[in-house]
Symmetry: C2
Subunit: 453 residues, 2 copies
Amino acid sequence: MKKTIFTFLFLTFSFLGFNQSDSTFIRKIYDEALENGQSYENLRSLCKDIGARVTASAEAEMAIKWGEKLLNSYGFDKVYLQEIKVPHWERGTTEAAWIENEKGEILKLNVLALGSSIGTNGLLKANVIQFNDIEELKKANEADIKGKIVFINEAFNQKYLHTFKAYGACYPQRGQGAKEAGNLGAIAVVIRSLASSNDNHAHTGTMSYDSAKVKIPAAAISTNDANSLAKWLNKGKVTLSLEMDCKTLPDVTSYNVIAEMNGKDDKVITWGGHLDSWDVGEGAHDDGAGIAHSIEALRILKTLDYQPQHKLRCVLFMNEENGNYGGKTYATWCKENKEVHIAAIESDRGGFLPTGFDIRGTDKQVKFVQQFKETLYDFQLFKFDKGYGGVDIGPLIYEYPEMIQLGMTINSQEYFDYHHSEADVFETVNKRELELGSAAMAAMIYLLDKNLK
Amino acid sequence: MKKTIFTFLFLTFSFLGFNQSDSTFIRKIYDEALENGQSYENLRSLCKDIGARVTASAEAEMAIKWGEKLLNSYGFDKVYLQEIKVPHWERGTTEAAWIENEKGEILKLNVLALGSSIGTNGLLKANVIQFNDIEELKKANEADIKGKIVFINEAFNQKYLHTFKAYGACYPQRGQGAKEAGNLGAIAVVIRSLASSNDNHAHTGTMSYDSAKVKIPAAAISTNDANSLAKWLNKGKVTLSLEMDCKTLPDVTSYNVIAEMNGKDDKVITWGGHLDSWDVGEGAHDDGAGIAHSIEALRILKTLDYQPQHKLRCVLFMNEENGNYGGKTYATWCKENKEVHIAAIESDRGGFLPTGFDIRGTDKQVKFVQQFKETLYDFQLFKFDKGYGGVDIGPLIYEYPEMIQLGMTINSQEYFDYHHSEADVFETVNKRELELGSAAMAAMIYLLDKNLK
């Protein structure tokens, strides 16, 4: 194994530096994207003709047809569906919450069940106990929590320049809040939305019961409502009433949608985004933008009559949000088919201004990609740091530990204002920024294809 | 003179590279901006409590009071007004345009008089003759133009990655269109708005009659209307009716608003943005953002108890949009007072994500600033290229040719969707992006102050 990797690295990592012909070709990619780009119109169609498309919904099925039809319209070498099994969680039709203080004053809360949560089976009502974060909750006494509704109010840390790090830091309250609160006897958990802005809409997202002894309902409330609830709790006892009829149904069959351009050999470069979204808003930034980027990157390369060295494969992954069965099945399928994978790129950080690529790989692989830095500087791509690729392409690394994975980095300052909420709509996307993302994807695919052996 | 410059460079350009204590202090700047930043609230107030503030208007006067009061509230070492004379142009109350074809069909156009234009003195009506750009117009025959309304329809070149370059490329149709069309006998000129998006609002901006033999009215129409007019002209003759009662009144007295922190010596580092805007929208990005950045940079340095080496001076310039008398007067005043100026920074490119600084100076000065690159990389500032500083600080360079001028670079992809139009409102600004701009200004002021002798 070690020898294989060494050979691979040896073949790959010649010094490249700035290359005029690369720069000329990438300029053509950008011209095509900025003058004739179709990303924006494709995203408009996905957001407005279909809209939100949570895994296993009718809209997700529609999005699969939409993707297949669009990819076929571009005349790529091969377009096909890849069957997967996916979880089927539904929000249901009832979702409401309010708080009441000792004076009998009430306040309606903007609430969204977290994905995978069970319903409340009617109206729940209990006293609220607040924690600043999951660690504080874990240290609490069962006696203080039993029969209550746990409220975890960890705010987004504004000091992080990279908002994905702030998101990651408060992720545990969403992912593990129900398990920890349930294990201590709570009857429900309500969390502060994982959002960068103070506003009135709740932000959903997946949660897990994992090894929970009991399953309790889990919901997010808006950041403004979390502030109100905290204020009310400062003044005295508060009860919270909650009703949600969300539920998990049996798994269903769904699909990844795949398009390919043949290369001189069969080694594969994969890139993609995810076709599913949450069930509120339109999934414009998460991850309609990644879908638009991924399709457009292939369209641009074909339009410019690029002749690939390797097999170029664009994957519209299904089910990133609650299970990642699209990504997992794809990786297994590649390995079973004895494919050789050399690189993968993911776009799942929104439709804002692209800034570069995070690199998941060895230090040598990071340096290899950083050699494109000079060429890409003129195209306003500046960031080439060691980092994470993406959820969908993640499972590939276990099958192909020697591959390079890249996550396109995108200005993340606004992303968590919209993420997983009704605010994630097409109108928040700027055409030029979106088209630049597609050009950046195409440019990196071209550079990897040309320079990886 | 040569010797002076040499000595200056010698003192200045030691190799700095990455410096841990700089990085630690800049981290504090960013923490203050992201956690306790006041830029967003200040910009909200400027946009909503005052709004559009064209030079010499009552709102411009109000903005001066607003700025003086706000700067005083922060307790800086000195706050004062600097008297200047400014032009007084008013849009008036009547502004309308429509086109009519040979079938008698009519279409209303969304129109804005260009700043400094004369009015129409009642309703003008004439056949339209179209040109693709100012160069085509210059080559035209007087006989073809005489008595007509000239329509210049040069579109924003989407292929430029830097939208300010695209703006500059089609700027002549706005700046010189009236002069060229008037000299060839046209009775008015109408231009396509200098905008990156296809939408329904016109974008105004300044124009000049310069050496024109006659003055004719000049207006911009929306990009969508320009497309419609071009289509109509493809099918046959089109008349355009135009009425505008804008006018220029006698010059008035106005003010730059200035705040200072004393340093160990009296050498000056100036930075600023401009307080005036056009008279539509709210001047949120142009240049309310620059005002918010500039004030906040000084507030942050004071809050962190920074002890400057040099005199730090924040200037809210008046009249950038139509005359630059704030910038011109400031430069003359500095020279007359025998001040020594070592650096200036301007923020006049919007309230979006900051990306770095353009450097106006010698190659050695560019390299000097580029030595901060490594330190600023962690703060997501990547761009340090030779370039332009800004209009307001521009005149200083003629008085102090040896100084460094910097223009903060800001993601420009959306800027010209809003610029000089009713769409330039507070709601298009993101809090985190705006606060990051203020932090970037403060960080660069700190680095220049510490490292320039």
